[in-house]
């Protein structure tokens, strides 16, 4: 959605509405170049949902007196969340915007029983298989070995518990594919901690091991204790309810043969 807005005293603002993991967002900005880049980058996630979270980019207005509920700064760009709305300031390019969107989502998902995970997600037979691990473990390899159209994301997966069911969503955040993920979701079949090996082998993990697998791969940026406690609650629920395995795999598509259905 692209619509000019009134903004007395400054350049007219335009807005773009999108939805990531069913979290509706409305980006408002006056920088036409940035607007064009953002519109193109998030085109697959364009969505006009009710009651979006409004984000004012580089608004220039004086900050409110009330302290921000949440704030984060990254390479000169700053996110500040107020009860009245979200401010992104110092955003000079689409990469800074992308970074702040990840930070904002990681925080907003706390209230929606969800989290962002460094993981590739592949949909197979209607279910989401989530492959996580440290950098170089094989997330992009798994994605590249999967059929075209089955990759929800090769970089950052979004997981949410909805009506008692964990679902994985694609995100527009790029990995090595250099392409946005798919704006769809599927119920989670399992989470797989990747380990490249000579033979394919899958081993079930205990709940504590699952939590230890998830924590280093979760995107989270709040240093506030209560937010971290809530994150730990959500991850504990995920670790208890989602089957999780270590997947030792060869760098070819035969690993699917050992995965549980």
């Amino acid at each position: 959605m692209n619509a000019p807005l009134g903004n007395s005293g400054r350049s007219p603002r335009q807005q773009f509405e999108l939805s990531i993991g069913c979290v509706p967002l409305r980006l408002q900005m006056s920088d036409t170049q940035l607007f064009g880049a953002a519109s193109a980058r998030y085109a697959a996630f364009s969505d006009a949902a009710a009651q979006p979270i409004t984000i004012a980019l580089n608004d220039g207005a004086v900050l409110e007196g009330a302290p921000a509920e949440f704030s984060y700064e990254f390479e000169g760009a700053a996110l500040r969340a107020f009860s009245s709305g979200i401010r992104f300031d110092g955003v000079r390019n689409q990469y800074a915007l992308d970074s702040l969107l990840r930070v904002l989502l990681s925080w907003k998902l706390l209230g929606r029983c969800g989290f962002l995970l460094h993981a590739a997600t592949i949909v197979r037979n209607g279910k989401a298989y989530i492959f996580t691990g440290r950098s170089g473990a094989g997330k992009s390899t798994v994605a590249s070995l999967s059929p075209e159209g089955s990759v929800l994301t090769d970089e950052i997966s979004l997981l949410r518990r909805e009506d008692g069911v964990w679902r994985a969503y694609g995100t527009p955040f790029w990995g090595e594919f250099r392409a946005a993920g798919s704006n769809t979701s599927a119920p989670v079949a399992g989470i797989f901690r990747l380990l490249q090996a000579a033979e394919n082998r899958v081993t079930a993990l205990r709940t504590g091991a699952i939590l230890r697998t998830l924590l280093p791969n979760v995107l989270f940026f709040s240093a506030e204790a209560e937010a971290n406690r809530r994150l730990l609650e959500i991850l504990s629920e995920a670790a208890t309810e989602i089957p999780c395995y270590e997947l030792a795999f060869r760098k070819n598509s035969t690993f699917w043969e050992v995965l549980p259905a």
């Binding site: 504590g208 939590l211 280093p216 240093a223 506030e224 204790a225 937010a227 971290n228 730990l232 504990s236």
Partner: protein, 100 residues
Amino acid sequence: MIPPAGVFWQKNPALAWREIDDETIIISPNDSVMHELNDTGRFLWKNIDGRKSAAELAQLLVENYEVTPEIALYDTQALLEEMSSRKLVVTVPATGGVSL
């Protein structure tokens, strides 16, 4: 450095922690570091409540593990010192404040 006798130990209130599947996992939000505890560490962690001294915690170890009072006190002080260095626990002075 072990604090003087008479101080109590409590969990650092700035932490997030969870017991799951017989494991205790602790997160330090300020540096996003994840900590895990061994068996004795988990036992102490469960009993650190801001109302017990190192000696009292050591006595609980004696009552629950086959260990002499001397070894229990040595282990307890060593673990408290280690946890304190990681800012997982803090001492509560007689005045009721928290010492980091």
